[in-house]
């Protein structure tokens, strides 16, 4: 069996797989991604991106939506989204 690294592009449709859970940690007042023997604390930007990883919208649409909501240039947003999601994919906690 050959497994290949997923490369995140504008057309990728990201989703959180089984075993990766977005949760608000009320004791510490922060959003976290719970993953196999790992815990990732999300800042506000990461949270907004991860919330949109539902296996529906592609990266381009997610960047468009974020750019509109936060009045930011889309090309900059797109770069940030790809960088973050490539990192999560490389950590094997995102499918696309």
């Amino acid at each position: 069996m050959t497994v290949e690294r997923i490369e995140i592009t504008e057309t990728s449709v990201p989703a959180l797989p089984r075993g990766v859970k977005l949760r608000f940690d009320k004791q510490r007042d922060q959003w976290v991604l719970l993953a196999p023997e790992r815990l990732f604390v999300l800042d506000n930007i990461a949270l907004e991106i991860v919330k949109r990883c539902k296996g529906e919208a592609n990266i381009d649409a997610i960047a468009e939506d974020l750019a509109k909501n936060f009045s930011a240039p889309k090309d900059v947003v797109l770069k940030d989204v790809i960088a973050l999601l490539q990192d999560l994919s490389d950590k094997r906690i995102l499918t696309a």
């Binding site: 069996m1 497994v3 290949e4 690294r5 997923i6 797989p17 089984r18 075993g19 990766v20 859970k21 949760r23 940690d25 004791q27 510490r28 976290v32 719970l34 993953a35 196999p36 023997e37 790992r38 815990l39 990732f40 604390v41 994919s89 490389d90 950590k91 094997r92 906690i93």
Partner: protein
């Protein structure tokens, strides 16, 4: 208990005083069909009759969530020996604890796995003792185990549960490290833990049969570093090094009593799973005291929490809040007092002693194991 990674702390921002534990390690039983000679359970294994009952574990899970824990590691012994595991997973799910099953994978058929999955199991960590059947079955002391593990991994994948493969490595299997990594990829594991044996409890007893040579360690580290490049985005590799050859101690458990809380099969509440090896400490029990009371004010948790307990040179060290003084169990095992500097640190007066022990053990004359059985443990304790 198959995991050998007390040094693997969750990725979280460093903070000051910990108000809540992040994770709870529930050692549900010491019963296990395997007999790994490096088991992290204490040498004196609890009998089945001493185990907490279902209602008590359910209460512990609720209290752990209330206390702020986010993850529960269901371990043992072999946790699937417990018939009530489904109920415990369902409770963890209900109270928002991420559930991780740490298993040898030899007792669970498809039907049982389905029912664990339906209960809401989030993740499986499966141990292998070697990359091929002969070594795996010999080291684990369980004939036919390897084939069962392969079948179990397939079932986990079929359900879409994320799989981590745990490989404890030592002198007698390090030659297969590359094929261990290949096996993890073949099994579609998303993560692999390559964990060098940590020398407490059973592993301490068997260290002359397990300790790698310095050359083996260096080779292993090279292989892991190369594989991390080659397998980027395919397999995440967590690597736990043996600190006998280290210059600086590990940040054991992310600091004593700072992130983890361990409950033994009989309800002893410990800052780490090896803490019982420190015979100078006594531990409170659940449910006689609540988890909160034990976490916040038990003598054992307070004793080495933070930095106030530290001797010099730890106290004035710029790394004191990075490694939190290393490992108390190791200080106790090697120096006779858990108050001392972890001898893994180059600044410890006992560092040379630790390295000499490692050197000597790594050239151990015999590869024979004292296998982990309740009887052998009782004999050792009596000795």
């Amino acid at each position: 208990m198959t995991s050998q990674s007390p040094a693997t702390a969750p990725d979280i921002k460093p903070g000051t005083a910990p108000a809540f534990p992040l994770a709870i390690l529930a050692e549900l039983t010491h019963r296990c069909p395997l007999q790994c000679p490096y088991c992290s359970n204490p040498v004196a294994l609890e009998a089945a009759s001493a185990e907490l009952d279902t209602q008590t574990w359910l209460k512990a899970i609720e209290e752990a969530a209330d206390l702020g824990a986010l993850q529960i590691h269901l371990s043992g012994g072999e946790p699937t020996s417990r018939k009530d595991l489904e109920l415990l997973i369902a409770k963890a799910n209900e109270v928002g604890l991420y559930s991780n099953l740490i298993t040898a994978g030899v007792l669970v058929g498809e039907d049982r796995l389905n029912s664990l999955s339906d209960a809401g199991l989030d993740h499986v960590q499966l141990s292998f003792q070697d990359s091929e059947a002969a070594g795996c079955d010999r080291i684990g002391g369980f004939k036919g185990g390897f084939e069962k593990k392969l079948a179990f991994a397939d079932s986990v994948n079929a359900l879409g549960i994320p799989l981590t493969v745990n490989m404890v490595v030592h002198r007698q299997n390090l030659g297969n490290l590359e094929s261990m990594l290949e096996l993890a990829v073949k099994l579609s594991a998303r993560r692999v833990e390559i964990a060098h044996v940590q020398y407490y409890g059973w592993a301490y007893v068997n260290r002359a049969a397990l300790m790698p040579t310095r050359e083996q360690l260096e080779r292993a580290t090279e292989i892991v570093e190369a594989a991390r490049e080659d397998l980027k985005g395919i397999l995440v590799i967590d690597y736990v090094v043996p600190d006998y050859y280290a210059q600086r101690p590990k940040s054991c458990m992310g600091g004593w009593g700072q992130q983890f809380l361990n409950i033994s099969p009989a309800g002893k509440v410990l800052p780490c799973h090896a803490a019982e090896s420190i015979t100078s400490l006594s531990f409170d029990r659940f449910p006689e005291k609540s988890l909160r009371e034990i976490w916040e004010s038990s003598e054992a948790f307070l004793k080495y929490r933070g930095t106030d307990w530290m001797p010099e040179p730890c106290r004035g060290c710029e790394r004191r809040e990075i490694d939190w003084g290393g490992c108390r169990c190791q200080a106790f095992a090697i120096t006779g007092s858990a108050d001392n500097v972890d001898p893994a640190c180059v600044l410890s007066p006992d560092h040379a002693l630790l390295q000499a022990l490692a050197e000597e053990d790594s050239h151990g004359q015999s590869d024979d194991f004292l296998y982990r059985t309740r009887r052998a443990g009782l004999e050792l304790e009596g000795a």
